[in-house]
Symmetry: C2
Subunit: 334 residues, 2 copies
DNA sequence: ACCCATAAAGACAGCGTTGTCAATATATTG
DNA sequence: CAATATATTGACAACGCTGTCTTTATGGGT
């Protein structure tokens, strides 16, 4: 049961091992007929290249990494799943590097991580995507990275994006069409680039419908359930209560639910609530939450493929993925 | 900036590379003085063994795997974090293998996975821990595995356990002490071994307090929020409403919250609710949920260490980790 | 046909470890 | 103290692949 090696394939196909290697690595300058022979041999023998040998002899480690800091578990799991799928397609491994960007020593954390782990590229998810010291460290090491974020601030890097503002505008339109005219938006922290995009998009959506910016009250949360509950409570208790609230993520939206419950307001009869992310909690709350779904898994897979396939390419790629508004029961007529 | 190799260390320490190798791998038959010299050289040079070379030359792949099927994201993330930490300590990688045990072709899924991925050992989490075809496949390949589960059914494998019944008994005692005498338990699916343990433990806890088994009504859910809501609603609408409900996991407990809300029952005034897992949702619901916390991260780390350190050892290890009851606001006087 | 540029294929030496086996030091025994 | 057992070190050949360089086809222009 000793494993099939490149030599077995070479013998079976009647070529040199180097040619087999070329086929495996999709190198140019291989005649089609040769390629076919080799591929047939690979197939029939069930040859799987030995990753350890490949990385020892070559320049790749066949390891990608994900660097993240404490977003919601459901986001992380979805992201990792996508990255894993793409990695497995190409015999790569995925390592998981959790960092703490609130800590003062990010540069140190990064240095230590990069010194001990040998990655061919990394995938960043918010809020790490906007953490300058992390990007600096990666660029200093000349390590390719892809950011999963709509926020572009001129860094030289691939990015997988969602059109956050368009999505928020769509939510705005949905609420407008339900007859709402008095809105509130709960934004995320300013450090999170998406916060502004979603807010601006929402307002743009209202204006596109013929409304005015001043119909939209703006308050700030920090993406936690707790902040949503606190801010939501203020909004709902205050005078001139909005009839529709758009929270920039689902956790905060769930917090607003809780606040509404405490004040004996019924959703969506008394107040319509929309979120963003379509995280697990969106279906757990009652009534279930209208929200925006991002194809996180697909985005991460795309990111991994970018890192795997476009090695050494100069051009920067930005891939925009589709979002989808999921209308559930938390939004209703004004 | 060419990397430090074992040869550099050998030269610096004035020994052969093989001796360095022995020190790295904690092999026996190395004099203490030698070991010290080598370790000093490793330290001062900052030597990190090349994993690719090690696995090419040796018999280890330095990769562990986690096999799971769709438990809650927070559980998965916690588990992976722990396994990752332990792996990183020893230069291992962790791969993530998601399978679908409901599908009919598990044996096939496993064969494919094991053929293409090269793991030194795997960590199983519920419900995969009790999936016979998976265990069969692993044993056929002679691949070491550790199960994170309290359920033992005589398999020859390491296990990291929590005393589920004791934990459930503690919840029962807590509720009894609050004055409750009319209980309901929502169990998980029968396929999940923990379901029975938690139920039995709860009843044992009541009996230990001087109560009787018939004071505990038993209904079955399937660990989802939805099932908790449905079953909870029936319990709360029916006659002879229990004053305290113990759900076998937090998601179902949250479902009961929702049912209570729909029926205008206040928690914990009208009904006390306790869960199990201390998942993220436990702090998201209002009022926050009394539950059992398992040190999932630590359990997974321990599992990984078992696989890494006890290679080739014959003895089966079972490690019991401590649980902790977290009393929050969802449980109150009867 | 002939020559040259270029494409395609092959030969071979590492890559940085560990396994095996041989060599040497140290302990134990009578 | 010699002789033997045992513990400790070392030498060196793999491990399976890719990078580099060389050799051999192929095609295009006269």
């Amino acid at each position: 049961m000793s494993r099939i090696t490149i030599i077995d394939v070479a013998n079976a196909a009647g070529v040199s091992i180097k040619t087999v290697s070329r086929v495996i690595n999709r190198e140019p300058n291989v005649r089609a007929s040769m390629r076919a022979k080799v591929e047939a041999a690979i197939q029939s023998l069930g040859f799987i290249p030995n990753t350890a040998a490949r990385s020892l002899a070559g320049t790749r480690s066949f390891v990608l990494g994900t660097i993240f800091d404490n977003p919601s578990p459901s986001y992380i799991v979805a992201m990792q799943r996508g990255a894993m799928i793409a990695c497995r397609e190409s015999g790569y491994h995925l390592t998981i590097e959790e960092i703490d960007i609130a800590a003062g020593d990010i540069a140190f954390q990064m240095e230590k991580m990069l010194a001990t782990s040998r990655m061919d590229g990394v995938i960043l998810s918010p809020p790490v995507t906007e953490c300058e010291p992390v990007l600096d460290a990666l660029e200093a090491k000349n390590l390719p990275y892809v950011r999963l974020t709509p926020v572009d601030f001129g860094r030289r890097s691939h990015a997988i994006t969602i059109n956050d503002s368009a999505a928020a505008a769509e939510v705005a339109g949905h609420l407008w069409d339900l007859g709402h005219r008095n809105f509130a938006v709960i934004t995320g922290p300013a450090s999170h680039g998406s916060s502004k995009l979603r807010l601006d998009g929402f307002i743009a959506g209202i204006i596109a419908k013929g409304g005015k910016a001043k119909q939209v009250r703006v308050v700030q949360g920090d993406f936690t359930f707790r902040s949503g509950m606190a801010v939501g409570r203020k909004l709902l208790e205050g005078k001139n209560r909005p009839t529709a609230i758009f929270a920039s993520n689902d956790d905060m939206a769930a917090g607003v639910f809780s606040a509404a419950g405490q004040l004996d307001l019924k959703v969506p009869r008394d107040i319509s609530i929309a979120g963003y992310d379509d995280s697990a909690i969106a279906e757990l709350v009652w009534p279930s939450l209208t929200t925006i779904r991002q194809p996180i898994t697909e985005m991460a897979a795309e990111a991994a493929r970018l890192l795997i396939e476009r090695r050494g390419e100069e051009a920067i790629h930005t891939v925009e993925m589709p979002y989808k508004m999921i209308v559930r029961q938390s939004t209703g007529p004004a």
